[in-house]
Symmetry: C2
Subunit: 355 residues, 2 copies
């Protein structure tokens, strides 16, 4: 049971530290090895995803990832910027299935910008395809515009694409996840405009034949964005492509008002996974000891569940997190009058104590 | 002053009727000619955008458009489906600049799913490029996957692209619109992943040199989706591409909770425009006389302002709409206890009376 720990930049090291503490407190013997990634990778080895880091990630059974990005790397050329590390890891490790729960803990309902009756008890799962689509499709670049009214000018271009097998495997993940929940899948596409997503709709419909116990609904992406604002609790599992998933999963996370609480898993075909909080590296509060470590701790719980099949241990962590919330402990991002404000380390300690 | 009136499907005819009534009541002599479009175009002439309709739209100075789409056309092949009419009109008329205000009238603050303090007084303008991007880029289709692990399988694909001149002209529209507002533009892209949108960012930045009195901020699309939920009032003008604009403008409209109130304008380079409500054809309530005609009436006001330069008349309509809201008149979609429920026709009559 080998875990590659990649803390990254900004608040990454602080929050990862707490998650490692929680994993260690479980009493299982995980082998954990740390490496630099993102801006820290660039600073140490000249590349956001240094060779040694990639090698470690490939050898390990799972990756615990903090966050990447910091102001000083913003002006680097794109190939060297911190976020290339995460794109590279997804592609190199074949992490095609991104699972992002958007859950609103009853204690934190007040943190949402939405009315409590619209979001309290929210529990949806967004499944985003993570290694295909316009993120990686070729050809792409800047060229001379070949036709139309702007022929001869410079133009930027990218290729959106999804092959049948790519759609089939993410559809299977969605239907199987739905079986463990409310058995409803909403497949989000833009079949009325895009060839890629008409094809997506056709393939998802055909995979659905193997899951007649699960309800399948198709929805256009613009409508999905509206329904997430209007009545998010109506969804159970949402499945979509890489680009639409990027937008919708962040919107869904923000509905809860407590993105500091939301974990994520990115899985390959054999349940190897990369686990990371849904939030970013928050360089403005880095090093101050105030970041919320719970999303990372809950990501570690997802790791136990999906990669190591340790359901009981995963449950223990999730219960411990609920307990510290019930105790009224809050990092500044979720603090409200009447609750007890704590820092990163105290929050991690409280989870360990509650285990 | 010739207006092509294209009522379309569902509630389209009812709401367009009221907007025509309001325009007629102004006392100016508009020449208005009606034609079939969408499902109605297909039913009458075998095509969602019949030749005669396109000819009329080209000849006219402005198009007043209702809405398209109805259940019975859902199973047609894509090229014949109602929404092809709107895509065709945009392309054929060169309507590259889509202006969609998201405004929350104080009287309707309760209709939003967001907390009143987050949205009351909301007044943002989304400017969406409408004739480029992955909506029209070629090549596109379904083919044999040429490379990678899925080589040989079928794959769907599309081309995202933006030429320099396309980006420049929409950037000008955005900066000029901002000058009439709070002088702040947020350009939404995905420059960290897409070549098209790194190029977009570079071109917008260069156009900005001509507008040093306007503040420009760049934001990734996933972050923009979050900020729209978290703090929508922080935006002034948002400008983005066709695909991202489709998603974000609908999300922004839904923030208000009263999409039945929101107009839109789609303009060419010479202020010829197509004006339509932001909502759809709502076939479930079609023919019942309960649809909200205000978005269409406000679209007619935008027409007076942008195409005909009749600012005073546009103001008159907008003031009349505010007046009927203040009188407490509400169609069912925006009805709340204490207000007076009225139908489509009564609402139109009330606006005419208030002029
Ligand atoms: C950093 C960026 C490349 C990345 C993405 O777009 O996938 C991020 O937004 C995410 O969702 O993990
Ligand atoms: C009907 C559809 C093709 C259209 C679009 O995607 O542009 C609609 O969603 C819109 O926003 O006007």
């Amino acid at each position: 049971m080998k875990i590659a720990v990649l803390p990254g930049d900004g608040i990454g090291p602080e929050i990862t530290h707490e998650a490692v503490k929680v994993l260690s407190a479980l009493g299982d013997s995980f082998e954990m090895e740390m490496a630099q990634v993102g801006g820290a990778g660039y600073a140490a080895h000249g590349h956001p995803l240094p060779e040694g880091t990639l090698k470690l990630a490939k050898e390990a059974d799972a990756v615990l990832f903090g966050a990447v990005g910091d102001y000083q790397y913003d002006t680097l050329e794109r190939a060297l910027r911190p976020e290339q590390a995460i794109l590279g890891l997804r592609k190199e490790l074949g992490l095609f299935a991104n699972l992002r729960p958007a859950i609103l803990y009853p204690e934190l309902a007040g943190a949402s910008t939405l009315k409590p009756e619209v979001v309290s008890g929210l529990d949806i799962l967004i499944i985003r395809e993570l290694t295909g689509d316009i993120y990686f499709g070729k050809p792409r670049g800047v060229r001379e515009c070949p036709d139309g009214p702007f022929a001869g000018q410079r133009e930027g271009f990218d290729t959106m694409r999804y092959a049948e097998g790519e759609i089939r495997r993410i559809a299977h993940v969605a239907f199987q996840a739905a079986r463990k929940r409310d058995r409803r899948v909403t497949s989000v596409d833009k079949a009325n405009v895009l060839e890629t997503f008409q094809f997506w709709r056709d393939v998802v419909t055909s995979v659905h034949k193997e899951y007649q116990d699960v309800e399948l609904e198709h929805m256009y992406v613009d409508n999905a964005a509206m329904q997430l604002v209007r009545a998010p609790k109506k969804f159970d599992v949402l499945v979509t492509g890489n680009m639409f998933g990027d937008i919708l999963s962040d919107a869904a996370a923000m509905l809860t008002g407590s993105i500091g609480m939301l974990p994520s898993a990115s899985l390959d075909a054999n349940n190897k996974g990369l686990y990371e909080p849904s939030h970013g590296s928050a360089p403005d509060i880095a090093g101050k000891g105030v970041a919320n470590p719970l999303a990372t701790i809950l990501s570690a719980a997802m790791m136990l569940r999906f990669t190591f099949g340790k359901t009981e241990q995963a449950d223990r962590i999730e219960t411990a997190v609920k307990r510290v919330l019930a105790q009224g402990l809050r990092t500044p991002d979720i603090h409200e009058p009447g609750s007890t404000k704590v820092g990163t380390k105290e929050m991690g300690d409280a989870v360990v104590a509650a285990l």
